[in-house]
């Protein structure tokens, strides 16, 4: 330590507690989980992974998770992209109202929101009653515990995570860019695709990565809105640990989930840094 400058020694001391906590409570447990996932009855074994990828049931489960994440990401993107421009342009009271109605649901408990959707979507619930009152349907349709309910709930819970990163880039975008494109002869469509989209792409990529990895990991929303009918990787992990006590199988499912979530984050951060996406 004698060779260290005073600044560097201070920096080490300041960073040490956080580094120790992250190593002891994050890196080591993850390494152990990884090791456990490769453990069978007698030492090293791939049996947990063989069970996961070798059965139609679990391939279906992985497919369910990916499908839910993909649909939720697409729906939130379609809503969030145009909405972000309006929120970024809004002034004064409107801006506060719009931002407030993004941040309040974001801060509100996921369990509370999912519970609310079980009330909204039940057969005697508000959505059904409204549709009947409008004459769109004649008798209540089954909504809760369907794929539709699941997607509505997931979009509701994860939409702010798509809007906020897109809003952040749109709010910083120089509006004169599109004017310059128009002056230089670009029509509105060309200006949009060749100026607005590339400039806002980093926010879009960040939003997609965030919503996809959050949805693929979601546990509370599928549990309350669709349940056993639509098993996902998270529900499989929870079951393996809480009910059937199959540590190594649960760990393997966890490693697969982790790989999906991390792959999305890593690919998106690469894309975000690609020359075409540079701001």
């Amino acid at each position: 330590m004698a060779g260290l400058t005073r600044e560097r020694r201070t920096a080490y001391l300041l960073g040490l507690p956080a580094a120790l906590i992250t190593a002891a409570l994050f890196l080591v447990p993850l390494a152990l989980l990884f090791a456990v996932s490769f453990t069978g009855a007698d030492g090293f074994s791939l049996s947990a992974y063989a069970r996961l990828f070798g059965s139609e049931h679990y391939l279906w489960v992985i497919g369910n998770s990916l499908q839910l994440a993909l649909i939720t990401t697409l729906v939130t993107l379609v809503i969030a992209y145009p909405a972000s421009f309006a929120i970024a342009r809004a002034k004064g009271v409107w801006r506060s109202l719009l931002l407030g109605s993004l941040l309040l649901p974001l801060a509100a408990s996921v369990i509370v929101k999912a519970f609310a959707w079980t009330i909204l979507l039940r057969s005697t619930g508000i959505v059904n009653n409204t549709l009947i009152a409008l004459g769109l349907i004649h008798e209540p349709i089954r909504m809760i515990f369907t794929e539709t309910a699941l997607v509505i709930g997931a979009v509701n819970v994860f939409l702010p995570f798509m809007i906020l990163p897109i809003f952040a880039v749109v709010a910083q975008m120089d509006e004169r860019l599109t004017e310059a494109a128009a002056t230089l002869g670009a029509g509105p469509v060309a200006a949009f695709w060749r100026v607005t989209v590339p400039v806002t792409l980093p926010g879009v990529i960040a939003g997609i990565a965030l919503v996809f990895s959050l949805t693929v990991s979601a546990y509370v929303v599928p549990t309350l809105l669709i349940g056993e009918r639509y098993p996902t990787l998270p529900s499989t992990i929870a079951k393996a640990y809480l009910l059937t006590n199959e540590g190594s199988f649960g760990a393997a499912a966890g490693v697969v989930l982790l790989t999906i979530a991390l792959a999305v984050v890593i690919v998106s951060s690469r894309l975000g840094k690609a020359p075409g996406a540079a701001r």
């Binding site: 956080a18 906590i21 992250t22 447990p29 421009f85 506060s96 109202l97 801060a107 609310a116």
Partner: protein, 265 residues
């Protein structure tokens, strides 16, 4: 065409916000339901479900435990995370960027995976103390929020201001408390708010680390909803929501909503 696009995006923005707020409004309305079947109070409102909260089995201990775990882990994370953020931003640390990425990386982890990893680990090292385990686990839930927000806040802070204060006759202590602390207070507050809420609302990590006697509020809530959902749960939810709104209003008064939207990416 430009006007049409603007109007369409404004309509979508308002619709999105209504959609986002809908479940919160519904929970509050249902909590005043006069009947046990979540009718919206069309035939008068009733406060009886609020009176029944106290009868919910295990509610008060769960609420107390959640507040305790969230408060203690957030306080520790604020201290440890802020110090680490200073180390990561000041540049004296080798591989500062990698260090910063490491501190924030648990945020990208699916909560359940973190939960089972900690469960395995605690079992392997023979650590069998539910309350302490929960507190320690929530430290890794809250620390990344603090690290992320404080690193962002500190990288906007101009450290030459401290040198300026020293040149102008401040002592080190004065320079820190009169220049650095006020400039970083908003980030500190946002970091604390998000960390507290993340811990208070955490289900996927806690579920693997609780026993019969130590159950946090989210775990009890999910149990109530699955067992016997009645408007009492809506009343509890409304109270949690009220607490969240109060915290957000305090944060808005202190730092403004735009700033919060910018740092909560």
């Amino acid at each position: 065409m430009k006007t049409a696009a603007l109007i369409l995006s404004a309509v979508l923005a308002v619709a999105a916000c209504v959609f986002l707020l809908a479940p919160l409004v519904v929970v509050v309305l249902a909590s005043f339901s006069p009947t046990p079947v979540f009718d919206l109070p069309t035939t008068g409102a009733s406060l009886r479900w609020y009176g029944r909260i106290a009868n919910l089995e295990g509610f008060w201990p769960a609420l107390g435990l959640s507040i305790e775990v969230a408060a203690v882990s957030t306080a520790l994370a604020l201290v440890v995370g802020t110090l680490a953020a200073i180390a990561a931003v000041r540049g004296a640390l080798p591989y500062a960027d990698a260090f910063a990425a490491l501190l924030v990386s648990p945020l990208m982890m699916p909560g359940l995976v973190l939960g089972i990893a900690l469960l395995q680990y605690f079992r392997a090292v023979g650590f069998d103390a539910p309350l302490a385990g929960l507190l320690v686990a929530h430290l890794i839930v809250t620390l990344p929020y603090v690290a992320r927000t404080m690193i962002a806040g500190l990288s906007r802070f101009d450290f030459t201001l401290i040198d300026a204060a020293l040149t102008l006759g401040c002592t080190w202590r004065q320079a820190i408390f009169k220049v650095m602390v006020p400039a970083l207070a908003p980030s500190f507050l946002i970091a604390g708010l998000f960390a507290f809420l993340a811990s208070f609302d955490n289900y996927p990590v806690s579920i693997f680390l609780t026993d019969v006697r130590t159950k946090t509020l989210p775990i009890k809530m999910l149990q109530y909803i699955e067992e016997a959902p009645d408007p009492t749960i809506a009343a509890v939810s409304s109270l949690i929501l009220l607490g969240t709104i109060v915290l957000l209003i305090i944060a808005d008064r202190a730092v403004g909503l735009s700033r919060m939207a910018g740092t909560s990416d």
